[in-house]
Structure formats: C-alpha cells, structure tokens
C-alpha cells in the first residue's frame, strides 16, 4: 500500500514562462514550479532589457536624464519625466508657473488614461478576448494623437524640462481633449458591458490572486494594485504635487485585494482621471511655460527624493548631488519592481491561467522593472 501511494504522488516540474511568451508583455522570465497545473512557486528572472539607466544618469546632465525616464515606464512617460523635473526644481527651489502646473497635470491624467486603456485591452487579450485589445487601442489612439500634436511624439514625449515645458500647448489641445472626454464617456460603459459584466470574466477574476492590505504594504505594492487591497497610497492625495491639490477627486480604494478589485480600481480611476481633466481643461491660466534655467544645471550639495503617482504606482527619484552637473547617485524607485515582488505570494496555489490574470492585473511594464 505504501508503495502505491508513493507512485501516485505527483512530481513537481519546472516550466519557463518567458522570456518570449505572449502574456509576459516583454522579456520577463518566470520560472514556475508546477504540480499539474497548480503553481507551487514563481521565480522571476529579470534583466533581459536592463540598460543601466542609473549608471548612465551619473554621466548625463539633468536635462538629458529626463529623456531617459521615457524609456522606463513607457506608458506613463510624461509622469516619469515630471518626477525628475520636480526633483530638480525642488533642489533649485524653482517655482514653476501655474500654467505649467495645470498643463502637466492634464497631460499626466491623459497619460494615465491611455495607460489604463492599453492595460484594459491587453488584459482582455490575456484572458482570451482578443477584440478588447483593438477597442482599447482604438480609444488610446485619440490620446496619442493629442500628444503628438502638442508634444511632438506619440509615446516617448519628453515634453518636460527642468523648469517647465518644452513649448506651449498646441492651440487645438483644449478642443481635442474635450472632444476626447465626451467621446470616452460614451465608450467607457461599453468596456463594462463587454468585459466587466461578462460572467466568464467575473469567474476568472473573482477571488484570484488575493493580496491583503498588510502584505501589500510589506511588499511595497502601490498604485491601483495596492489600492485594491485597501492600502491608501495615492501620492496625488498624500503628497500633492503640481495642481493636484486644487482639484477634486476620489482616491479609489478597494477592499478585496483580488484580481477583480484591481480591475475595478483601474476602471474607476479612468472615471476619476476624466473628471480631473474636465475640471482643469477650461481653467488653464495664462502665463509663461518655463522658468529660465542655466544651460548647465548644477544642483547644490544634498539629496532629494521626489515621488509621483504613475499609472502603475509610486515612482520615486532619489538624487544625491555633490554639486556637479551630473548627479552623484541617482536611484529610480520603479513601481513595477516592487509590484512584481508580490507575484510569487499572490500566485501560489493558483493555476497557470490564473497567473496570467494576476500578471495582467499587476499591469507590469518590463522596461520599468529592469531599468
């Protein structure tokens, strides 16, 4: 009898998910220990697109650092740019004009919207509903057009410079943005009918990949992922920067901490983002769009930490300056990196299909993790 039970015991085996895999969204490699389809352990292996941005920053001027952050979390590039600019402005004690603050806030929120739209589409695709991907991109296209017209590029915009903006907004910017908001207010309920209310989708999401509030804090999980667990971590609320202290918006908090809560959190954030843009778009104050800075910016000796809320969570820039034209040490605290660390905890005991769902609700962007 003893022998029989021995034989029936299943054996763990390993499977390499990635670096080339449709649902890792880039070159993330996960080594899964599986028992049948049940996941025993997930071990992320990173660094396939590590470009040592931090090391490059130690040799670059502060204006040049800004454009490198575009290449990290490319879906919230404007917010990343802003973090560096804010840190430099803080160190130089520059007060940017109100116009800059409002424009930056609007574009931040547009970036967040476009990032969440892409996430929604990709999430549907990960779960097998390929059509959502096209719908998500269809709506995102309008935002990228707005960006292209005003900032000059669709993805890596590099619209911020320390001390303000590259140039003023395009004359069409306000009208286009308002048109987009009216359009998207009609389309967002469609997202709900197509995916959120779908019974298959509900089954796939509910109760999967639970993360308690304590674990979320301990793992440093921020952004919509952390807020879905009830961890109030919205930097826009807690440490307001730019024009966020002037607008009314709700910090979306979930309680469940499962995939569905994370999903709903992001959908609710899209509504909030639209309301923020609507509050600001007609009230852009007149004025200059940059404060003149020296051609070679030298920060005083000291250290600064600036955090901003990207679409994925808390993005931090830690600058240590020795008074040179380049920082002595510069560290990017990327949200994806910390969020990824909780993946193993969330995915244990789930099935492979659940792992895909969990990964898409974490909304990982691999360049953001590898830097």
């Amino acid at each position: 009898m003893e022998e029989v039970t021995q034989e029936l015991e299943s054996k763990e085996y390993f499977i390499n998910m990635g670096p080339q895999h449709p649902s890792t969204h880039g070159v993330l490699r996960l080594v899964l220990s599986l028992d049948g389809e049940i996941i025993k352990k997930v071990e992320p292996h990173l660094g396939y697109i590590h470009r040592s941005i931090e090391k490059m920053c130690e040799h670059d001027s502060y204006q040049q650092i800004v454009h490198l952050t575009d290449r990290m979390d490319y879906l919230s590039c404007h917010i990343n740019n802003e973090a560096v600019c804010l840190a430099v402005e803080q160190a130089l004690q520059l007060e940017v004009p109100d116009r800059v603050k409002v424009i930056r806030t609007i574009i931040d929120e547009l970036t967040r919207l476009s990032s969440h739209q892409l996430w929604w589409g990709v999430m549907g695709m990960d779960l097998g509903a390929i059509t959502t991907f096209l719908y998500g991109f269809r709506d995102r296209e309008i935002i990228t057009d707005i960006f292209e017209e005003t900032c000059g590029a669709r993805l890596t915009m590099n619209y911020n410079i320390p001390g303000g903006l590259f140039f003023d907004i395009h004359p069409n910017f306000q009208k286009r943005t308002k048109d987009f908001i009216t359009y998207f207010r009609k389309k967002l309920p469609e997202y709900d009918t197509l995916l959120t209310n779908n019974v298959i989708f509900m089954q796939r999401m509910k109760g999967i990949g639970k993360l308690s509030k304590e674990d979320a804090i301990s793992y440093g999980v921020t952004g919509p992922t952390g807020r879905a667990s009830g961890f109030s971590c919205d930097v826009r609320k807690q440490h307001p920067y730019m024009a966020y202290d002037k607008v009314n918006f709700k910090e979306v908090l979930g309680t469940e901490g499962d995939c569905l809560a994370r999903y709903k959190c992001r959908i609710a954030e899209m509504w909030e983002s639209m309301s923020i843009i609507e509050q600001l778009i007609d009230n852009i104050p007149e004025g200059p769009v940059k404060v003149p800075t020296k051609a070679v910016i030298k920060l005083p000796k000291g250290e600064w930490y600036q955090k901003v809320e990207t679409a994925r969570g808390e993005f931090g820039v830690y600058i240590i300056s020795e008074g040179q034209r380049s920082p002595y040490r510069l560290k990017f605290r990327s949200p994806g990196f910390s969020n990824l660390s909780a993946l193993d905890h969330m995915a244990r005991g789930c099935k492979i299909a659940d792992l895909v769902a969990i990964m898409s609700t974490l909304d990982l962007v691999i360049p953001d993790i590898d830097r």
Partner: protein, 152 residues
C-alpha cells in the same frame, strides 16, 4: 510623530546615530551593525510603526558604503530616511531586513549586484538584473568597464 520625536526615539536606542534635518526628510545615519534591531523596533513599535519601505538603495561614497532605507508609516504618515553606514568598502556586509519588509528582498538583491553589498541572512542573494557570471559591481565608482564604456 514629528521629526523631533523620531530623532529622540532613535537616539534613545542608538546613541551614536547622526541625525540631519534634510529639506524633506529626517536623515539618520547609523552604523550598519545596528540596523537590524533598530529596523525591527521602528516597524513594530506602535509609536513609530514604519511599515512601508518605499525605497532601498546603496550608495558608494569614496570612503565607505551606505545602504539607504526610505521609510514611511501608513498609519502616522511620517517619513524617515535611514542610512546604514558600512565602513568597509572591500567587503561590505549588512544584515538583511527582508523579513521585516518583504519588498526588501528584490531591492537588496539589486543593491547586492550593483554595489556588492552582502546582505547577511538574505534567503536568496543572487544576481538579479545582470547575467549570473558577471564580474564586478557595476555601480561602484571605481568600476572600470573598457568594453561597454560610456561614450563621453
């Protein structure tokens, strides 16, 4: 708790701590061997309860190494920068904090591979971003890489 309170809290436990009131945060530098008891105290004590480690990184100074912990309390909303000063640059060692804040596990692996700081008792201290057979600690100031030299 205000910065003065935290300063007093730390000075009570680690008398040799150097406290600097920075532009944003209170910056406290302590010797690296004192980090583990202080960190667990900061996390578990009701008065401080620093439960959110939002950034962990290493810094390579000319004479010493430093591990910088950015801490925040989600309950009291106060923040603190804790710096563990490691005097040896040749063989830097510091106790791990990854059982106190689990996010530290990946961050410490990153700091290990970029600066060569050994985190004692870390469950899985391996290279993270670079290939496993990479030699040297690339973020150190004296790191010399003739092949992938930054064109400048």
């Amino acid at each position: 708790m205000h910065n003065e309170g935290i300063q007093k809290f730390i000075l009570d436990r680690v008398p040799e701590a150097e406290c600097v009131e920075g532009t944003q945060f209170l910056q406290v530098t302590i010797p690296s061997e004192k980090i583990l008891p202080l960190a667990s105290e900061l996390k578990s004590n009701e008065a401080t309860s620093f439960d959110f480690l939002f950034c962990l990184t290493g810094v390579d100074w000319p004479a010493h190494m430093e591990v910088v912990y950015h801490l925040k309390s989600t309950q009291h909303q106060h923040q603190l920068v804790l710096k563990a000063k490691i005097n040896s640059r040749e063989n830097p060692e510091v106790a791990t904090v990854c059982h106190i804040w689990r996010t530290a596990e990946l961050h410490e692996r990153e700091a290990y591979e970029l600066f060569g700081i050994k985190f004692l008792n870390h469950p899985d201290l391996r290279r993270l971003l670079l290939p496993d057979d990479w030699e040297g600690w690339p973020m150190r100031k004296d790191y010399d890489d003739p092949i992938n030299m930054i064109a400048y």
